[in-house]
Symmetry: none
Subunit: 224 residues, 2 copies
Amino acid sequence: MKPSTLFSVFIIAEENEAVKELSSGLALMGFACAIASREEIVRQVVESATDLVLVEIDGRSANSRLELSRRIREERHLPIIALVSRERLSDLDDDLNIDDFVITPCDVPELTLRIKRLLRKPSNRRSGELINCGNLVIDMGKCAVSIKGKSVALTFKEYELLKFMASNRGRVFTREVLLNKVWGYDYYGGDRTVDVHIRRLRSKIEGSSHIFIETVRNIGYRFK
Amino acid sequence: MKPSTLFSVFIIAEENEAVKELSSGLALMGFACAIASREEIVRQVVESATDLVLVEIDGRSANSRLELSRRIREERHLPIIALVSRERLSDLDDDLNIDDFVITPCDVPELTLRIKRLLRKPSNRRSGELINCGNLVIDMGKCAVSIKGKSVALTFKEYELLKFMASNRGRVFTREVLLNKVWGYDYYGGDRTVDVHIRRLRSKIEGSSHIFIETVRNIGYRFK
DNA sequence: GATGTTTTTTAAAGACTTTTTACGACTTCA
DNA sequence: TGAAGTCGTAAAAAGTCTTTAAAAAACATC
């Protein structure tokens, strides 16, 4: 994490001394913090350039705050960390809307590390999602594919097929499944269609150096 | 997490009082724990039915333990939690091989919750997609078989045969039954076919060390 | 509507897998 | 001990699936 990249953190909590202290602690670590406690902030969070949300889960407002984080998640996929008291730990039992938690009172170094780790996860990067397989890069934001930095022109179906397979690396897909997932559940047509697309994809992305798509006889194909 | 499902946790740490206490604390929460500290355990972890690994990162062995977790990850995608002292926190800065961490001395409820949350993530579920027999692993999602971490190339029928027998371990199958279950109820062909496939399977998965398929004279074959 | 591009279909060639056949070794039972 | 049945192996034959190329159809653009 370069110090030059400034990440912006939204803290949803009562604005008391402890929280203010936390906020300035994070500011010291290079995060731009904002504190708010009203519920109307969902809009604000979603629409602003927020990178990550901290939600305080305390006695009185536990449920409403969990609900809040759920709503934020629904609108935009933003990493969320709960600040939770030891007593309220069990509230997080079933909640997968929250990515991580720390027990209050907060230890700033621990929280900082947790924030960093969440922001480093590729799926949480603001930068449009990328799939990165060796020297093949699929930029799903741009719908562009490049290999060793050189961009490769794929047709729509080729791109969709590659994207699907690459985002489930290692798994074997039958032609039928590919037809379902890439062409759509209601597509009616022959298996050979898949073969042909695979062939063209291969001819575009595979040189003599690397093989990306493996055929698994009697079953289908796999992206390696 | 139903209480009926028993998850198995491997703790890599010095076996001191604190760790033993932690282990029994987790046992109380319904986890089957095993402790080990030597490095040779990579094999053991990968080959056993372990669901999750705890790695203690302390002063002396920090780097080697991190390396260890990297190696475990390489062999099999298993969730890993670091038990780390406050002073060693920064060692986790760049390490994405570790899924989560807790600061020692451990708070058992917190650790339990972190374990639960990791195991609940779909990508970490044992999910019935993996058959694990000693050092033989059948990954049904990838349609891949590996033995001591080394992947083995099987043909379709070999794979199907192995999958069927391995998922009914200990049971004896007549050739007729195998023909029915693997080849299909309407298959018409001779018994020798089974023998030949068994032979080729054996030659691929059995070394001098382990025998997986046992011949039961006058009846048929049995796995393990 | 003509043109060029993308997608699907078709069919033959090729590669690999599976089955059959045949035979030797081994076990069981009279 | 010999006959009958069972099992393991190798090689050839049969079969199946995949690749390939080329043509037809669908689609988009002007």
